[in-house]
Amino acid sequence: MALLSKEEAKKILEKAIGFSKANECSANLNGGERGNIRYARNSVSTAGEDSNLSLGVTSNFGKRSGSATINEFDDASIEKVVRRSEELANLAPENPELMEVLGPQTYGAESKTYSEATAKITPEYRAKAANDSIVPAAAKDVTAAGYLQDGYGFNAIMNNKGLFAYNKQTSVDFTVTMRTNDGTGSGWAARDLNDVSKLNAAETSRMAIDKALMSRNAKAIEPGKYTVILEASASADLIRLMLNMNARTADEGRSFLSKKGGGTKLGEKLVDERVNIYSDPWYDDAPASPWQGDGQARKKMDIIKNGVVSTLFYDRYWASQKNVAPVPGAGNAIMEGGTASIEDMIKDTAKGVLVTRFWYIRPVDPQTLLFTGLTRDGTFYIENGKIKHPIKNFRFNESPIIMLNNLETLGKPERAVTSEGGPGGGTNLMIPSMKIRDFTFSSLSDAV
């Protein structure tokens, strides 16, 4: 059982700190269990579970710092890992950017990241989810490939200056790709949640099957600039790329947030004034831990307000250099939306492209935040307010900054799954679907 309670975690951390002979000592204890099931070709291919419990200790002597980790918890092992971190600190070169450890912090309300239902997922639950995908797929002459991963765990930190923080969390991530057996159609759907009781694998699979059937025999249309309707996953694929609002790189002149002639774009209008993005660790549908790894408390904060850059993230060292208060990075991001449904946006479009999701998105130019990637698993041509036919996939070259300056309509925000974020590892996002004009598709792909 790797999910230690707050008191159990505290006891181990106190023991570790108690062994310290360093000026400063901090310890972190992380544990959890994960389970998964993977299927392809309408059959389960692999399934597994693993657990991990690990104690990390960092000792500082002045500007010298050393870290060591261990996964044995008897007194001798705990003392050993503390001594090892001290030995490493004594051998380490000085790090002029090393900051003193934090004193006691005040954290907000209890976090919403943990769900008992998710922690209780069994191998049978996973097998049923796979079955709920495979059986309906086979009935429609479609082949299912999917992956469900769930996990529960905790993080706790303590130092010899009185700081202690604990948080527990759960996650469940389900992705499914349905391919028609004639090889001409492919559909995808995904859910990423903290609480598994909100997951309906059969319903998610049905959406992917419908997309696959709808996308059969796609026609090629010319690449160029199009009005696009991005489903929430496609929006999130690009919006997440602009959320690294790092103050230091902006100040240093090597960021899309650096200003010509010096300075940063903090306080300047960057995108359409209808764009509002904020972080709130206690947001019900996409919660985050109320503290970040070094123990700094997270708060609700605006990132983009009415299109204006309202926050840059300052780590403690850079904040000290700039004489400002540190601003921890966002643990989650919520983009406000409108009321339009995808159907509403389609009805309101004379000529455009509906995008289910993007794929293989890679940076092209960090200066302008230009990215390239492709549409995948359901791309459709819209004409006179209706979906006319499926179209072949496009490669895009676009910047989320340019895209959000070409905003037409915002849909309803939803918990979005990004294409390559990887289950459970990323930042929880609430992102709306959106309609964008002049989106740049630069070539055609034959991929289904």
């Binding site: 998964n36 993977r38 392809a40 070709r41 059959s43 291919s45 692999t46 399934a47 597994g48 693993d50 991990n52 690990s54 990390g56 870290s67 060591a68 980790t69 996964n71 090892r84 030995e87 070169p93 790090n95 097998a127 082949t143 490939a145 999917g146 992956y147 991963q149 499914v176 790709t177 240093e252 002149g253 090597r254 650096s258 010509k260 002639g261 794929w359 293989y360 890679r362 940076p363 092209v364 130019d365 302008t368 230009l370 390239t372 990637g373 492709l374 995948r376 996939n393 490669r395 070259n397 910047s399 900054i401 990887g422 630069s442 070539s443 055609l444 792909s445 034959d446 991929a447 289904v448």
Partner: protein
């Protein structure tokens, strides 16, 4: 995907293991004879529980990474991950379990769990596993033929080298510079019921940097990364030899089997500064001259991945995707993957390559085989339980697991483009091009889920006009379709120009695993490729 990079300053110990002292990296906690005793305990336990096949992998995975910026050390970390993975076939179904409890009892319990998993999953089994036969090799060993173990080199020496490179970059006019050194040692012991007991000691090393020049007034910044590759070598890779240096355009030096990081950092600073005022490319069709440390990534994405058999069969459909290179294209014997000069081979034995081992992670002796011959698709990449699908009676020997606690599966071997057979240098190639672009080093990369449409950038771009280098270019990316691209390959330089590109963290599978792989080539020419301009204003 060649996706994972050395992003943050702290790496997850889930992947890399526990943080340990530098001295501990040189310990040898378990003799080969002790490993055999533990492995036999697992093999016998599995057999008694009804397994028809069992393999055991005892692995000790060591990593050390050193990160610096300008004149500062950012992080030095040494990690160790040690444990055992047991894989069994029961009722024709795979089962796998792992443990870091390295006692006979711990391994016995893990074996029992692997058998239980196989039995549970066999209820869903539609087609029993068919393994291609493999020879039992008895007690054998293989080591990466390193000359100097990087883990034995004092950290201070490695740090001095990185800080010297940073100093050279700053002296050359760089505004910022980061440099890193990543070292890996996989100590792997494999035993199976086929009668093999294989002990292997595998080393890899990756020096890297990012040099940046900034023009604050113009609001511009440009980056130049190293012209080195991660390799399957020891520290000797960082001890430069004159005979390994090749002259590139614009005073650039390109490196073969050893790397001069200090020299390259200085050149990088000059090039990054030059990029600040280089002209923006005119979009259109160009003849591309692609240098091996660039072309390797194009080979990786457009040849390496599409020819993975598990992907072709649909096992990766939900994540990385499938492939345009279907079984019928192979079976036709007529599929023109590329032009007649294109010969691409897989080879897990290439010296200095990241994928080089003696035996793969299911005990198959590694070898070389052809994938594309004279432009025609002739083979895929298959492991023991896939060989029968291709009508083969032996595996290609390209099974790999990133650690003892992950199950092994089919991974890309080194996939390389054979050099041209006629004497031909990159200087001659440039002279023969009327309107072209020379690209060196890796850059932006993206390809669709069936590996048709791709777009690549690079580290540095030079315009070629009437056989002459006409200065640096900015905002270059080329787009093509895999089959069209390889059929436009007009000429390949000879073996004197041949060198390896490497991808240290190639990702595949769910849950995702990384592997390291190299791609050799000589500078090659591709005619009439579509180049786009990626410049924008925000």
């Amino acid at each position: 995907m060649a996706g994972l990079g050395l992003g943050g300053l702290t790496l997850p110990n889930y992947t890399f293991g526990n943080e340990v002292s530098i001295e501990q990296l040189l310990d040898n906690p378990l003799a080969v004879s002790q490993k055999k005793v533990l492995a036999d305990a697992a093999l016998n336990t599995a057999k008694s529980l009804g397994a028809t096949y069992t393999d055991v992998r005892i692995g000790r995975y060591l990593n050390q990474f050193i990160l610096t910026r300008e004149n500062k050390v950012q992080n030095i970390s040494s990690t160790e991950s040690f444990g055992v993975g047991v894989r069994v076939i029961v009722n024709g179904t795979w089962g796998f379990a792992s443990t870091n409890n390295m006692t006979a009892d711990g391994i016995k319990k893990a074996t029992e769990r692997a058998v239980a998993v196989a039995k549970a999953n066999s209820k869903f089994q539609k087609e029993p596993v068919k393994l291609a036969p493999v020879q039992g090799y008895g007690e054998v060993s293989w080591n990466t033929p390193i000359k100097k173990n990087a883990f034995e080199v004092p950290v201070s020496e490695k740090l001095d080298l990185l800080l010297s490179a940073n100093a050279a970059a700053l002296k050359g006019g760089a505004t910022f510079v980061n440099s890193n050194l990543f070292q890996v040692n996989e100590q792997k012991y494999f035993a199976s019921t086929d009668g093999s007991y294989i002990d292997q000691d595998v080393h890899r090393i990756w020096p890297s940097f990012n040099v940046q020049a900034i023009d604050r007034a113009a609001g511009k910044f440009k980056s130049r990364q190293e012209m080195a590759a991660p390799v399957g070598m020891g520290y000797e890779y960082l001890m430069p030899k004159a005979e390994d240096k090749l002259q590139g355009p614009g005073g650039m030096i390109l490196y073969k089997n050893s790397y001069d990081i200090v020299e390259d950092a200085g050149i990088a600073a000059r090039q990054a500064k030059e990029m600040l005022s280089a002209k923006s490319v005119e979009p259109g069709k160009y003849d591309m001259v692609l240098e091996p440390n660039h072309l390797g990534l194009t080979i990786h994405e457009s040849v390496g991945h599409p020819l993975e058999l598990d992907r072709i069969l649909g096992y990766e459909a939900n994540y990385a995707g499938t492939s345009f290179a279907t079984l019928d294209k192979l079976q036709s014997g007529k599929f023109n993957y590329g032009s007649k000069v294109v010969n691409i081979f897989a080879d897990k034995t290439q010296p200095g390559s990241l994928g080089a081992v003696g035996y793969d992670d299911e005990g198959v002796k590694c070898k070389r085989w052809d994938l594309i011959k004279g432009g025609i698709l002739v083979n895929f990449q298959a492991i023991r339980d896939q060989a029968h699908i291709l009508g083969m009676n032996e595996s290609h020997g390209c099974c790999y697991s990133q650690s003892w606690n992950d199950v092994q599966f089919q991974r890309m071997p080194n996939v390389s483009l054979a050099p041209g057979t006629e004497p031909y240098s990159s200087e001659q190639m440039i002279k023969d091009v009327e309107k072209g672009i020379y690209i060196a080093g890796r850059g932006s990369y993206s390809i669709d889920q069936q590996r048709y449409n791709f777009q690549f950038g690079g580290t540095v771009f030079y315009e070629i006009k009437n056989g002459q280098i006409a200065g640096m270019l900015n905002d270059v990316a080329y787009q093509s379709n895999t089959q069209e691209f390889w059929n436009s390959c007009a000429k390949i330089c000879d073996e004197k120009d041949y060198r390896l590109f490497g991808s240290f963290f190639d990702g595949k599978g769910q849950p995702s695993q990384v592997s390291a792989v190299s791609h050799g080539s000589s500078t090659s020419r591709f005619n009439g490729i579509n180049v786009i301009n990626t410049g924008r204003t925000i």
